[in-house]
Symmetry: C3
Subunit: 469 residues, 3 copies
């Protein structure tokens, strides 16, 4: 039986090219992890409690895993996913683990397989493949380890060699876990990021109540446009006091707007009072991207725009289980016309950084690389979500670098809620980049000394520079 | 001169990877052909008459061939394609063959070249390339063989090792060739598939007459919505009695709808009486996809949706020669919004199988893989039409597997009218899959034992399971 | 330090495949350059004056270079780009060169790097990489050489082994440089091409004044539709007398129209007098593509359609510096519906050649290859602009050849304003094609003798045939 992790995995197969890639990878594999964008729970680092059991760690919270099992006919209740409608979910962690193990072959060829095997091997010293046969071996081994102090969140954070990690919070979040972390004296660097969708998107659940709470938490009068903007400034400052260097915007599209003040004020009153049309909601979100850019120029937060996901596509599952059930589906996303109002206003600012992400790969070469290869404020985020994968990363480099260069990109984001996958994800990115650079060297498009410098830049320097970390 | 078929053709070039691919290919190359979707003529198997001559077999009916010759200025009349306007087509098969042979270089780099060479070599023992110089050698050899009993349709069917093949028929077809096949006692398994475009698409030639004929053949009253749906149920049952396990839907878009009953009834009366607007025709087709899904839940037929072709784009050729003249051009196709009404109704049904195809490759990674990687009822059909090719198949695997996995795909379809190309097409798919899997093994993303299991699944098991064959 | 140009650069890395590619490349590397489409300045060939200095040759006019520097925060004024608003640009060529050199690493992985290194090495015998450290060495060497007679435009033209080059001029251009070239007795073949955007696009700067000038220069009455069309015929004839074999059309979209005469007349009067709506401007451009096709049938000029660029996306830069500042961004481009009116009218004409280009790569396999693989009048132009690159060319071949074949393509265009990049660009295309063909040979999809014939066709014969050069 082959070990779960071959030392040359994901590197180019051609021996000479692989040798170059190996040298490049060796130069970056031990660099600290800089994780500027993700969704780990700050409570973990604050409370530092043991992860309870294998299924709660690996299966129940990971929509990459349960959506695939669901697609093959396995009920979410049987995987322990909690329902909102009173249905009873499986409670027995070992039973859930057996279901996962028996279907582990479904992940062949997917990044989930790569991430899980990496964690199984490096964290739990497992060296046989997961299957129905080995399910108990796995469950027992992981359970035993999770009970050890070395597997608590802070210990893993240090073991993972994380230099800094960002979480993502709403303006309505008091950031108490972040406060606890700071008060604890622990040396791990955990920062927040400002994600204002709940008070910026009129279609967000409870939007109007959120505006009221936004006034309360900020001490600003959110019944006026001016006061609403002041509330953002107030909370951005508060987030900065917990290390935030970025904001994050998860809109359905990349639309931006640059309305005259009186129109913006009137639109705000309309969305505040409701109801609004689809077009008005879109216009308000669009205007708010431009407002956020304006504030970024003032306070230095880097903007991240994550557009193009049709959220909660499965109506039945949404009603039963709520958000984030693996049913967010990408859709076609335009950037050229959508970003123009914002770029007309702030596109030439050298002190503004806007990082663009996409779930529509057709935009890499057609829109995103030409835009980032021109506008001083724009940078390209790494492959996101479904494309945070070996082939996805290759396509990104092949399609973006020739026009945008490497230096308009910003390194890697793990963007994960799955804590044990963090080292695996960064390792995949480092291997794929080493392989891509090795192929440019083998092609004589790049000298090897340049490739070494680039490998370091793509792994470490660019992300720190772009995110000001 | 190299032989026409190298034993390692289409396998990866890197020696170690090729060796893995060769082992994988050797394990699947002799598996029976399961052909769940295609357009061969059931008359061939019913009457078992000799194919008349080389041009009638290879050139005249194959729009892949004559469209390419046409694009380079060769008149369709000169290739023997029959006109509807009284124009006289070339009748001499040898003359047509010479025209094809003299332009065979036009197919360099295309799948047509691969398929033809495979048939020339394996069926007709030809080992020199087709060209103007060898045209007569080819014509004589093929003619001589076609006159032999071993080259009759049933003998070829058996020689091709076809376990089962599906043809595609209209609900208005009495299936007499299928009845003849069954009555003949021949052991070859030929099944039909239910393709209702002629009575579902208000834009179909003769749609209103078709509805009348649909009533007659089903014995149902197609003047009412209820009777019209009953006619579908009746004919689906009849098709099932001739082995049908699937329906097939060739709509301009993937639009679906889920209208209230009274709206559906009213819309049916409108399309039945005509005229209808473009939007009404689209809405009726959309509603019918949802109705077909409902019937599939009842009777178990697997649904295939083949959307996105702009049919008969060349007005002049359509007027002169009719349909299927190589002028069907793909266009951009949306799935995320289009399928939502149907999925809201039936998307979570485990006993429903809907197989999605596309001519818009941008949908693989952006829409189709995320949808199929989530909804229990969805599966991804193989690369279709222009993408049933070496590079097309590679792109499909590279872009779909990481998100949908292998197990939300359904193996290969040859989808052909060109009988001698069937073994070639399946062989290409087996080689490309063996190569793709070999690269995952060489990359250490997959163990070789898993790859062997997958190779068998992709070639044989998945298609039988998905299509219930 | 490796030399700047490795003899095997850009060829496949696998030794056996590289050996085939090398043989193919050796057969074509010394073929003359046929450059049927580009933007070099005819004044160079007419006046044959020395290029003034390194920065004026390489940096100031090349939007590939200055847009990348701009994207990383370098002011265009500091690169010597002249402003329209009175701002003062850097005048010192050595200072500009130092800025370029210090940021040369930004071009790693881009075609600009490949082109520049090729020119540095082959024209200026430089064998150390450009950087801040070597900036003066470079500046001095290039300056010294540019002063030599062997570096004047005509000498370089001959050294580049250019058999023929086309420039691109407006109908309002008297072609005096072309006249000077002809009168000079020089043997270099420089032809013009008819680019009528300034009198066809109602959104073009000064459109209405241009129509008046168009009447003057043609001697036709451009106040009527008939006279306006006659003016085109007149100028097309004039351009033909200076060797033109093609027209070129740079529209925002590929829309075509085929209006009744009275509608076309009325629309012309509307655009002539203005103002026009966005839709009317688009319709007029659309109609004019069909009119140009009609004239091409009469006079034999080959039509080139270059659609899909959103010009001057950066409003601030446009106001300050004008057009062509590296801020032209591609956008999604439809061909299937857009070209139908023109194709319904002239699509089946064997004596018409329309060469289609795209900045939207998704159209290669979905729309362009199926269209060109069917319509006799259509051919596919090579990868354009952002895609005139190693990876861009590979994607074009991989996505277009299987459906369109090689023979519906037209070889390479350099499309450049950067004179020293011409040999580099053609060399890249030859290497990429040799590599692509070598992989087909290594895959046993093509015999090597066919690949040699194809390599010659793709480099030399197809471009001469398609462009009638």
């Amino acid at each position: 039986m082959a070990p779960l992790l071959h030392p040359d995995r994901l590197l180019p197969s051609l021996p000479d090219t692989r040798a170059i890639a190996r040298r490049l990878y060796d130069g970056i594999k031990d660099l600290p992890i800089v994780s500027p964008h993700g969704h780990t729970d700050p409570r973990w680092y604050a409370e530092n409690e043991a992860f309870p059991d294998p299924s709660t760690l690996f299966v129940v919270p990971d929509h990459y895993i349960f959506r695939m099992l669901y697609s093959q006919g396995i009920d979410l209740l049987d995987l322990g996913v909690p329902a909102k409608d009173g249905s009873v979910s499986e409670r027995d962690s070992r039973t859930i683990w057996h279901r996962f193990a028996a279907h582990y072959h479904l992940f062949r060829g997917t990044p989930t397989r790569v991430w899980c095997d990496h964690a199984f091997s490096t964290l739990f010293d497992l060296d046989v493949p997961l299957s129905a046969v080995t399910a108990d071996l796995y469950f027992d081994r992981i359970s035993e380890r999770l009970a050890q102090p070395a597997y608590r969140p802070r210990a893993l954070f240090e073991r993972f060699n994380i230099e800094v990690i960002a979480t993502t919070e709403s303006p309505l979040d008091p950031l108490k876990h972040h406060a606890t972390i700071r008060a604890s004296g622990w040396s791990g660097r955990v920062v927040t990021a400002y994600r204002p969708d709940s008070v910026v998107d009129p279609d967000f659940d409870g939007f109007r109540d959120n505006l009221v709470a936004f006034g309360t938490i900020s001490g600003c009068d959110t019944s006026t446009w001016t006061g609403y903007l002041a509330a953002h400034r107030n909370r951005r400052d508060y987030f900065k006091s917990f290390g935030a260097t970025s904001s994050d915007h998860g809109h359905p599209s990349a639309a931006t707007a640059d309305l005259p003040l009186s129109d913006a004020e009137a639109l705000y009153q309309k969305v505040r009072k409701g109801p609004v049309s689809v077009a008005e909601a879109e216009l308000f979100r669009a205007q708010m991207l431009t407002e956020m850019a304006r504030m970024s120029l003032e306070d230095g937060l880097v903007m991240q725009i994550h557009p193009g996901s049709v959220r909660n596509h499965n109506r039945f599952l949404f009603n039963r289980f709520g958000r984030d059930m693996g049913a967010d589906i990408p859709s076609q996303t335009n950037y050229v016309q959508a970003l123009k109002p914002l770029l007309d206003r702030f596109g030439n600012e050298k002190n503004l950084t806007i990082i663009l992400f996409t779930l529509d790969e057709t935009a890499y070469s057609r829109e995103l690389a030409p835009l980032a290869g021109h506008y001083p404020c724009l940078r390209l985020g790494p492959p996101w979500w479904f494309f945070d994968s070996v082939e996805g990363m290759k396509r990104f480099r092949e399609q973006a670098v020739e026009t945008a260069g490497f230096y308009n990109t910003v390194g890697f984001n793990d963007d994960t809620r799955a804590f044990p996958s963090i080292p695996a994800r960064h390792d995949v990115a480092r291997r794929v980049d080493a392989g891509f650079l090795a192929e440019l060297v083998a092609d004589h498009r790049l000298r090897e000394d340049e490739a070494h410098e680039l490998a370091h830049d793509l792994t470490y320097r660019l992300v720190k520079d772009a995110y000001k970390l």
